[in-house]
Amino acid sequence: MKNLLFMSIFAIALFAGGGDVLRYQVLFDRFELQKSGTKVWDVRAYVGYDANKLYIYSEGEDSSWQNELVLSHAISPFWDIQAGIEVDYEERSKSFGEITLSGLAPYWIETRTKLLFGQGAVGVDFDFEYDTLFTQRLVLTSRIESRWMSKSIEDIGMGGGLNYIETGFRLRYEIRREFAPYIGVSFTKNFGQTKQLVGEQSESSLLVGVRFWF
């Protein structure tokens, strides 16, 4: 047993360390309270290696959320292709299959573009982020997210066509890389059938939160 332990340490310790080690990260990219009282989270967590990772994404507010479980495979220096399922909840839950292109676009734009299929519909969802540094620790993240569905899924408040556009600006201060409180503002606008289903027109909100990872 002892020898087995040594052998496994030995196998890892060959030559220099490093290389493609198993690793994980849990990132609370947004974890905030909006002025309206809405609590918002946007979490991603992975475990895996350079080329292949298992991701969990969870994004939501109070009583509605989207959770994803995807396998992610690196296809080029900056791009991963991801495949898995998304479960959306708003009073009821519905599942979709998804294929997603995730990665760093030219001009340092973090992107996720998602193709959803299920419930007799297809959808496209994108989420782009861009960081602007004011100082080495004061960072403004600009963000835009939107979704389009081919038809209405009324159970969970999704209309056919363009659902919504959400933009946000969050100014964080990195006390450590792992821990950054922020303030910000977000704007959401519902469109078309979604607007009829959900009823909201448009909404803007000041917010305060913390971005952290471990």
Partner: protein, 551 residues
């Protein structure tokens, strides 16, 4: 909580006495680094309390010394080194730059199985060379935890020197190296606090106007390359050190002082100067060179330079890291209490298009900067090339479009310094026969900064086949650096004769600047299994090859 942190915390609360005997047994206190002289050496690799950053932490040391004891050998002697492992993990010692049988080279898994906990391994070999070298663990990230020291083999250069000092430069972190590596893997700019801000851009707009400023940024932004990425690990976690935190090197004015600079860092290229004084470089990587007088020396990781300096009075040995995130200095002169003013740090320089491998090119009518460098050697007859496997993939982000021999380029951070900076172009090893190469291989140094992957020809070590050298051949190796980082490439067991035009300098570690190429020639005069790798500790996992010498 890992073991190191546990011990640390326990000590803080006086709980060490409650630990099981095996845990505290053999944990020593740091002792001053001394020289061990002779042919028989007993080296004990063990845990030791050190205090470098201001709080006590555990290091791995040789005989409780950090740096490890200086080993003084004589050419022609057979040295015996009994190395005992008191750690609870395997270890090893590699004699960097030393010519020896491959079974004595100390690379676990290649030269030997490594030294298991509780075991003693006996290294024995004949010393065939002279000069300044060093040794370090070749296991995991242990080198970063304190297992590195100097080797001095008596030579006959500078025999008239009045004083002779080893100046070991290194980077210490209280963070566990596995944690550092994890940080780099999760966020490769984790330690970079010199990144571009919006105000850098507005300054450029003021300087060049909006259109040109945007054009200048376009290439970098499209390629997702960062011109502020000088070093992966910085003073944000590192404390830079000279010897065992030595603060004073004694010398009387007018004396000839030989300083043996050795860069024992894991990740840090140092820029070294002695304010107000010229340094006369007499050896590089242990080998005597035609003496050259300089003001500044950049010492890449794992390199060594021997210099002669004649102090006029009290001065400093002053070193700063290439990315200008920190410094370290010690007094040099007659007085320990002298108040010597610190020199101005050199300005921070970002990378340029030259570092992207576009030197001498024109983009949209704009010169990319940097003159054409003419360091091409005369190659009167073609050299047969052996093609190596290549893989375009996630480990190969950039292709240098016009990589050049930039041997006279002081490198990023020293280009604006209006003093004489040592470059490879200044070096020459006299009296060497420079045989014409029989064969050539080309290796692309590749990587992916976003994912923090390093490789050769797009293939990381763990997916690679060994390189094959042929015993007796003169092999030409050309490196093309397709990354934005410096890579100090080190071959075990054989010398590398770096081509500088038609002259050569003999080295064991050759720094390949970003976007550049170098060519070197190797007399394949050693049999067995060796390794060839980038000496940046956190690049070694991928930018690494085993070498098999076929007889």
């Amino acid at each position: 909580m890992d073991r190191r942190k546990f011990l640390q915390t326990s000590a803080a609360f006086g709980l060490i006495a409650m630990l099981p005997a095996s845990a505290k047994e053999g944990v020593g206190e740091q002792k001053p680094t001394v020289a061990l002289i002779g042919t028989q050496f007993d080296l004990h690799i063990k845990k030791t309390w050190v205090n470098i950053s201001g709080k006590p932490v555990l290091a791995n040391t040789v005989n409780d010394m950090l740096p490890a004891p200086t080993l003084r050998w004589k050419k022609g002697d057979v040295v015996t080194l009994r190395v005992t492992n008191h750690l609870d993990e395997p270890t090893s010692l590699h004699w960097h730059g030393i010519i020896l049988p491959f079974t004595m080279d100390g690379v676990p898994g290649v030269s030997f199985p490594g030294i298991m906990p509780g075991e003693t391994f006996v290294y024995r070999f004949k010393v065939q060379q002279t000069g300044t070298y060093w040794y370090h663990s070749h296991t995991g990230f242990q080198e970063q935890t304190g297992l590195h020291g100097a080797i001095v083999i008596d030579d006959d250069i500078a025999l008239d020197a009045d004083r002779d000092y080893v100046v070991a430069l290194y980077d210490w972190s209280d963070e566990d190296p596995d944690t550092i590596y994890r940080h780099l893997k999760l966020q490769s700019d984790y330690y970079n606090y010199h990144k571009r801000t919006i105000f850098d851009f507005t300054a450029e707009v003021r300087r060049w106007g909006l259109t040109e400023a945007l054009q200048r940024r376009a290439m970098w932004n499209r390629m997702r390359m960062d011109d502020r990425d000088i070093a992966d690990v910085t003073g944000a976690t590192y404390t830079y050190c000279i010897n065992d935190l030595q603060k004073h090197f004694y010398a009387r004015p007018g004396e000839k002082v030989r300083l043996r600079f050795i860069n024992q860092s894991a990740m840090t290229h140092f820029d070294v100067r002695i304010p107000g004084h010229k340094m006369r470089v007499i050896a590089a990587d242990g080998v005597a060179v035609k003496p050259v007088e300089v003001d500044d020396i950049r010492i890449a990781v794992a390199e060594s330079y021997d210099v002669i300096v004649v102090p006029k009075g009290d001065t400093l040995i002053y070193a700063e890291d290439m990315g200008r995130s920190g410094k370290v200095y010690a007094k040099l002169g007659p007085s320990v209490s002298a108040n010597v003013p610190l020199p101005e740090p050199y300005p921070y320089e970002p990378l340029t298009m030259v570092d992207m491998g576009m030197g001498g090119m024109k983009m949209r009518g704009m010169k990319c900067g940097g003159a054409m460098h003419t360091m091409e050697p005369a190659l009167p007859k073609p050299i047969p090339k052996t093609a190596l496997p290549k893989k375009e993939g996630i480990a190969w982000t950039m292709h240098a479009m016009n990589p050049q021999y930039r041997l006279d380029d002081p490198g990023v951070g020293l280009r604006s310094v209006k003093r004489k900076v040592l470059t490879y172009a200044d070096l020459e090893t006299p009296g060497l026969e420079n045989r014409y190469p029989d064969r050539e291989i080309v290796m692309y140094l590749t990587g992916n900064m976003e994912r923090y992957i390093w490789a050769i020809n797009g293939i990381p070590y763990y997916e690679s086949e060994p390189l094959e050298f042929r015993y007796g051949e003169r092999l030409r190796v050309t490196f093309i650096n397709d990354t934005m980082m410096n890579h100090p490439m080190h071959l075990h067991g054989m010398w590398s004769d770096l081509e500088i035009g038609d002259k050569i300098v003999r080295k064991h570690t050759i720094n390949v600047q970003p976007g550049s190429k170098v060519s070197l020639r190797i007399d394949v005069d050693a049999t067995g299994r060796w390794v060839y790798h980038c000496h940046l500790l956190y690049h070694m996992g991928g930018m690494f090859r085993e070498v098999k010498v076929l007889s």
